[in-house]
Amino acid sequence: MNDGGKWYQGFLHGFMIVLSLLTLFPFVLLLSGSLSDDNEIIRSGYAVIPKMLSFSAYEYLWSDAADIVRAYSITIFVTVVGTVAGLSIIALLSYPLSRREMPFRGPLAFYVFFTMLFNGGLVPTYLVYTNMFDVKNSMLALLVPGLLMNAFYVILMRTFFATSIPPAIIESAYMDGAKEFRIFRSIIIPLSTPVLATVGLFQTIAYWNDWFNGLIYITDPKLFSLQNLLNRILLDVQFLQTSQDSIAMGTHIPLLSMRLAMAVIGIIPILIAYPFFQKYFVKGITIGAVKG
């Protein structure tokens, strides 16, 4: 916009580069800590650049990868199933709400959006899911509570359907004898890939990062998702030790770097995928802000 001088632009870039480095610094510290030798960590702490490069943390994790592989599989399963199921439910609810001639459209919309204003809170929710529906220590506990859908996504999608799909298309398809489900499947969904991608992306990240459901509904370590496993290791130093003891009795375990290596394994997928999806993510945030 402003054709600033070279010095001015240089200053701005300098400022932003420093800020970017500060933002990334904790990640660098985590990575280099995981690649450090444990004795070196004890001597001089987690360093920006490992003084003695060592992959022993990763080797140990690899040698007893059962827990990690199981947690990873659970996270992947929950993320895929949750995103697909959630996306379907959201689309199926948003589309009728976007049709002006739908009966009970007003009351239904109120029913959906009221959940954004008021909620029962943790205790009744917990009791509903544990006493009415026995989801404790089951895969459902990771999939259903809180994450499957919410009114915000419904608003996002309904707005898209209402503004981007001309009603004339729907009408003419109906005239040609297509049933409502057919119209939804063959016309609406193919025309709505941008909004489906955006909401799907939000859902994927929410499921991948979720640890809250596991924290309150899962007590059996066999059902831990990746985040719950990481959570347990961070809050309880003994946990890693006891789970490793069986295979490495007596040998020296690089506990300090191993802890960080676990976290690295947890974020690597997001860091790798981020450059590819960040454009859609940014777009999603801006759309969401317009009507949210």
Binding site: G45, L117, G121, F133, I216
Partner: protein, 334 residues
Amino acid sequence: MMNASMHTSGQAAAKGRAEEAPQPAVRSRFRAKMKVVKRYRALLLMTLPGVIYLLINNYFPMLGMAIAFKDINFAKGIMASDWIGFKNFEYLFKTRDAFIITRNTLLYNVVFIILGTVLAIGLAIVLNEIKNRYVSRTYQSIILLPHLISMVIVGYLVFAFLDNSNGFMNKTLLPWLGFPEISWYSEAKYWPYILTIVHVWKSIGYSCIIYLAAIIGIDQEYYEAAKIDGASRLRQIFSITVPLITPVITILTLLSIGRIFYSDFGLFYQVPLNTGILMPVTQTIDTYVYRALINLGDIGMSSAAGMYQSLVGFTLVILSNTVVKKFNKDNALF
């Protein structure tokens, strides 16, 4: 059709039928509605999964809030437990906890709102000033990155800094600056700053994007005109950019004021590693409800605190929305 036939028949006859007329009219309106419902039954069917989910996930818990007025006894079952009126609330507000959690939740939110807004706008302005759009977008992606990381991972990152024996602060930065080591996880006084820094680091990218979108939307002609009038760059920022994005600032701020009674559970639970000694400054309403429920199993106290949060929170949402509506009807939530 019905109306037409009634008009053609004689006045007296119409009058005579007046008493019994409402019923067929109601029935026909009902029948017409049924016809519409039948025509759109597929659409209604589509909403069913979502409607059922919200019923279970949101509406059952709303009804379940009634347990705050009960003395829950699992032997008797939730339904059969005794009603005790406001006893749970009395207990809650007699403790010092009620004051501490309210104070912490409110103070952190006030600081987060003010600091977060000012920094995000500043950053958005800087990003907008950068001419090279590609590079500017790269910076934007980098500062958004923390938003994508779970609070558990954030807990690890903070731990790598603050770990008492091996952390970066105690082993590298503080010795280098000539300060003695600090045992971070046992000194409460530092945590308001630590949590604020972590919150800003994690959330600034997100709000910055929203403000940047608003700034990019400003008509360039304002700046052209200002330039011709000889306005400096700083003057342009404060006389054009900031006033023109004020509606966005107002709305985002009012929305966060509506959520001022809620806190980010992960930030206050995971980042301090659930450390008891830090609780005077890290306990918020959300962590209190969680700990009372899961660790202590105290349903009475936790449900009372939860209801307190829900009701005050709801009131604030309604209030802030009313204010948003006054400013700009389009941006109101409802």
